[in-house]
């Protein structure tokens, strides 16, 4: 097992006795506290059309969610989601690599309200002609301290099978484990805050089998050209992400939201993002949401746009997602709501929403390799804009 795995495993496995004791106390504390507001998520149905267009690719498709309580204390949910992929991204253009043309995802969930606690179970399956992923999750959340605080813990485990459409014999495995701790706190009558700490570990085949890195044929003479070779990734990755977010109610009925998230992983990617959002109801039926998000990351240890030689280091990758870059996102969402008011009617509330986000991606060390007229390493830095659109109808019943 690689060192990175031990780093994660230590707090869980290093001192089993002490942890078990602490956990037991925590559980006793959780189950014994009187609280009264633990509620199951509301019954609702959503039909959504989503579209992502940018960098030469269009990914769109439908999504449907139905959530319904079957008894007073059990709520079930099912979601169906499709990505249809068309066009050719910069990677496809440069490498003539192939894309799966469709991805289908099913999610099933059950939430069980036990006195003041909600226990959640989930299963998810994602399927492409060259990729298959199954994820199981379990979570527990508890309201306490007069319902001013909500604590949640969740664990998820996924196993993926990575294939390659050009090579039917190619099959690799990947296992993902996710541990999440969440704390939501009512600070004042108008301020709500949330803290999340999330650890994810991956083990197995973490490459994208279609992608390649490039290296100079002659380290001393870039004009001699370069060669593409399949990427070599580490077989483990552990990431830590912590986020603080808040929502503040403004006196004239509007809400201001913020988020700050920090991220780092064992590939040495360091990232943070800052989100600001503003929600403003217009009259009785309209709600306007505006948002701005800034994201910045450093590159992975084994990333380079152009390696000097074929065996320059053990791991080599040229995924633009591993490079150093920043993104700006500007978003607007408009919803029209019809509130029928009373729970005696079968339909309590319905809404129609349209949302549009513009994402600007600016790469700091990922170059546009389509420019084969230029000396390798002097191509312009890559950048592109993406439009993300959602149109959805929701019903609460």
């Amino acid at each position: 097992m690689a060192a990175t795995d031990h780093a994660l495993a230590r707090p869980l496995n290093g001192q089993p006795g002490r942890l078990r004791g602490g956990l037991w106390l925590l559980l006793v504390a959780l189950f014994s506290l009187p609280a009264s507001a633990a509620v199951l998520p509301a019954d609702r149905a959503d039909v959504l059309y989503h579209s992502y267009e940018g960098g030469g690719v269009k990914i769109d498709g439908p999504a449907v969610l139905v959530r319904k309580s079957v008894t007073d204390d059990v709520s079930l949910s099912a979601q169906y989601y499709v990505d249809e992929i068309s066009g050719a991204s910069i990677d496809v253009q440069v490498l003539a690599s192939e894309y799966a043309e469709e991805r289908t995802q099913y999610d099933l969930g059950a939430d069980y309200l036990l006195s003041k606690t909600i226990i959640s179970l989930g299963y998810s399956n994602s399927s492409e002609n060259d990729y298959e992923a199954d994820t199981y999750s379990i979570g527990i959340s508890q309201d306490f301290f007069g319902d001013l605080s909500t604590l949640s813990l969740s664990y998820a485990q996924g196993s993926d099978t990575v294939g390659k459409s050009t090579d039917p014999t190619f099959s690799e495995e990947k296992t993902t484990r996710s541990y999440q701790f969440g704390w939501t706190q009512v600070i004042t009558k108008n301020l709500l805050m949330n803290f999340i700490y999330h650890v994810i570990t991956d083990e197995g085949y973490l490459n994208n089998p279609y992608r390649a890195f490039r290296y100079l044929d002659n380290a001393n003479d870039p004009s001699a050209g370069y060669t593409w070779l399949t990427e070599k990734y580490p077989e483990t990755r552990t990431s830590h992400a912590a986020a603080v977010r808040g929502r503040y109610y403004l006196p004239y009925r509007a809400a201001f939201g913020f988020e700050y998230r920090r991220y780092n992983d064992t590939w040495n990617i360091n990232a943070y993002n800052l989100d600001l959002s503003y929600t403003h109801p217009l009259g009785q039926h309209w709600i306007l949401d505006l948002r701005y998000r800034f994201y910045s990351q450093s590159d992975a240890d084994f990333y380079a746009d152009l390696f000097p030689a074929e065996n320059f280091q053990t791991y080599m990758g040229r995924d633009k997602e591993l490079s150093e870059f920043t993104t700006h996102t500007f978003g607007v969402k408009v919803s029209y709501e019809l509130d029928t008011g009373w729970s005696r009617n079968w339909l309590e509330k319905a809404s129609v929403s349209l949302a549009w986000d513009l994402i600007q991606l600016d790469y700091d060390n990922f170059r546009d390799a389509r420019r084969d007229d230029l000396t390798p390493g002097t191509e312009p830095l890559y950048e592109f804009d993406a439009d993300v659109i959602r149109f959805f109808i929701s019903a609460w019943f």
């Binding site: 959503d46 998820a156 996924g158 108008n190 999340i196 999330h198 929502r247 009925r253 993104t327």
Partner: protein, 97 residues
């Protein structure tokens, strides 16, 4: 010890029968029981009362009013950016690429 007695007293229990000197395990127990008792003890009241949740209960205060849409957007960011995790409510369950 005193704080523990106060905590016991607000549960209607008497503390006089317990003779103890301050020590570390006791401190730990006090802290734990303090944590346990805060919810029920009348002397430590939650500062936002259930009837004062008018603004907090407003749907515009929800961290994730539309879980499907939020989950989709998280998925978009996850597939374009190196960072992952701690997305909050509505985060997709699938760790896939």
């Amino acid at each position: 010890m005193r704080s523990y007695c106060v905590l016991l007293r607000c549960l209607g229990l008497r503390c006089s029968g317990l003779r103890c000197a301050p020590n570390r395990p006791l401190l730990l127990v006090s802290l734990l029981s303090g944590l346990l008792l805060t919810a029920g003890c009348s002397s430590i009241q939650p500062w936002v009362k259930p009837y004062e949740r008018n603004n907090l209960a407003d749907p515009i205060m929800s961290f994730s009013p539309d879980p499907v849409e939020a989950g989709y957007l998280h998925h978009v960011f996850q597939s374009r950016e190196g960072a992952r995790g701690a997305e909050g409510g509505g985060g997709g369950g699938c760790g896939c690429n």
